[in-house]
Amino acid sequence: MNYKQPLELTGLIANLDAFFREHLSPFWASVVEGLLILLVIVALYAVLALILIYVERKITGFFQSRLGPNRVGKYGSIQSIADMIKILIKEIIHIKRADLFLYYVAPFFVIGSSLMAFGAIPFGKGLQAVDFKMGVLYLIAVSSIGVLGVLLAGWSSNNKYSMLGAMRSGAQTISYELSAAFSLMTVVVLAGTMQLSEIVEGQRYVWNIFNGHIPALIAFLIYLTSGHAETNRGPFDLPEAEGELTAGYHTEYSGIQFGFYYLAEYLNMFIVAAIATTVFLGGWMPIQVHGWDTFNQVMWYIPSYVWFFGKTALLIFLSLWVRWSFPRLRIDILLNLEWKVLLPINLFNIVMMVVIVLAGWTLTDLFPKLFGLA
């Protein structure tokens, strides 16, 4: 069944591609297209960060019974643009007696890692820059580089607080990466593929979180927890812990260099939510029921990128809710939670998922007629 999809961007992209191929040699066409994609991704990265910062400040305000930004523009809506201009024209302070090479290199690790993960996310139908066969593995791999930037920043700042923050961050990120990777692997067992486009396609009639019921739900919760911890946000924000470490690893950074850490932090929150959406909640696929053609057609009128950003926004709101509801953990409680609770549950969970897949107890195996597979 082909549904009408009037607002999708696939046609526009195909037209652009045909236009470049017609007027340029194949080499220059791919160069121009590559540059355009890079431009779009970087612009989207920056714009999303601005929106996220505004949304976070506003929602935080409501959680704490205050107004949030409300002076610049209607409801303070262009506050983050004003902040961006401020941060761009701020002075970059040079510290004496620090390793300047590492000091300047460090932010690029953080922002590069998050930009590389950002580029592989499927934002909608046909809106994915690269679609690796090992997509999930790629996301896990590139997001593991970011911690190096934090470690180097902490050391090269020549500041005890930064160093402590960096050490904490290193321990925390390495630990929680394990859980995040294992919970994603649980879903890979269920989906039978690592390619993100195939994972989304496989969730046409039933999301993975329902298809794999108990183990998938556990994996989802663990992924949200460990993803939240990886982004160094409260209640896991020990690396910055302003009460004890002023600002942790980025205490000494100013201007746009601090801006890099700030951007990366917000975008990492988005990336974690986006991966969770893609892997567990059906990605950009609209909600569809097998056999209900009119209903499906109505759902397809809403373009796929709106579905994607809607689901992601829901998870981001959840993350903010957690952030402002729980107090900060102590470092030993934090590490105990990972190594003594989440990791054993996770290992057991993978085995449970394998059993369920092999025994044919997933929803699609139990009720194939509901999903048009019989």
């Binding site: 066969k133 790629y138 791999a141």
Partner: protein, 191 residues
């Protein structure tokens, strides 16, 4: 054309940073240069369409081992201190060894160049093929070495724990653990 340009950039980064990693006077700088070498090598894997190796190289070497290196260097006495140059005899002997290694590798590569061409694939290898190759028991499938290596790694982990606890007797460990639980209990009470 594009491949050529990317390869030249990667090769330059690898060559330059390898030399810098050895000649740098500060341990932490050397570790960072080594990190660049590892990342550029993963770029080479990406050019060859070996995407799985790319991900493993980034995850295991750049994201795992280098983080451990840097954490370990942090724990040393003075990570930023400039290390004095070793005696010239040591420098010359290690330089000779390096040249010998280079010649050996060069001979092997030149002899097997035609073989290497056949191994390089045009298409991305599917994850299913890799998974079955690692955990299958048929010809060209490697379950036994895979399991042997995982056993070795398990032994390493247990050994590391033993070494880390070497100084304390069993009773002392129990005592310390009791103290720790008491401490956390009192802490929780005070909260």
């Amino acid at each position: 054309m594009v491949q050529q340009i990317v390869f030249i950039i990667l090769a330059l980064v690898i060559a330059l940073c390898s030399v810098l990693a050895v000649t740098s006077k500060r341990v932490i700088r050397a570790a960072t240069y080594l990190l660049f070498v590892l990342l550029a090598t993963s770029g080479l894997f990406l050019m060859l369409n070996y995407h799985f190796l790319f991900a493993v190289q980034v995850m295991v070497y750049a994201g795992g081992i280098m983080v451990l290196f840097i954490m370990a260097i942090f724990l040393t006495h003075q990570p930023g201190k400039r290390v004095a140059t070793k005696s010239s005899w040591k420098v010359t002997s290690s330089a000779l060894l390096a040249v010998a290694g280079l010649v050996l590798c060069g001979v092997i590569i030149v002899r097997n160049l035609s073989c290497a061409f056949r191994v390089v694939t045009e298409h991305e290898i599917s994850m299913h093929t890799i998974g079955q190759a690692l955990l299958g028991t048929e010809k060209y499938q490697f379950l036994l070495p895979f399991e042997a290596i995982s056993l070795l790694l398990l032994a390493c982990i247990i050994g590391a724990i033993m070494i880390a606890r070497k100084d304390r007797g069993v009773k002392e460990i129990e005592k310390v653990e009791n103290e720790e639980t008491e401490n956390s209990e009192t802490w929780e009470k005070s909260l």
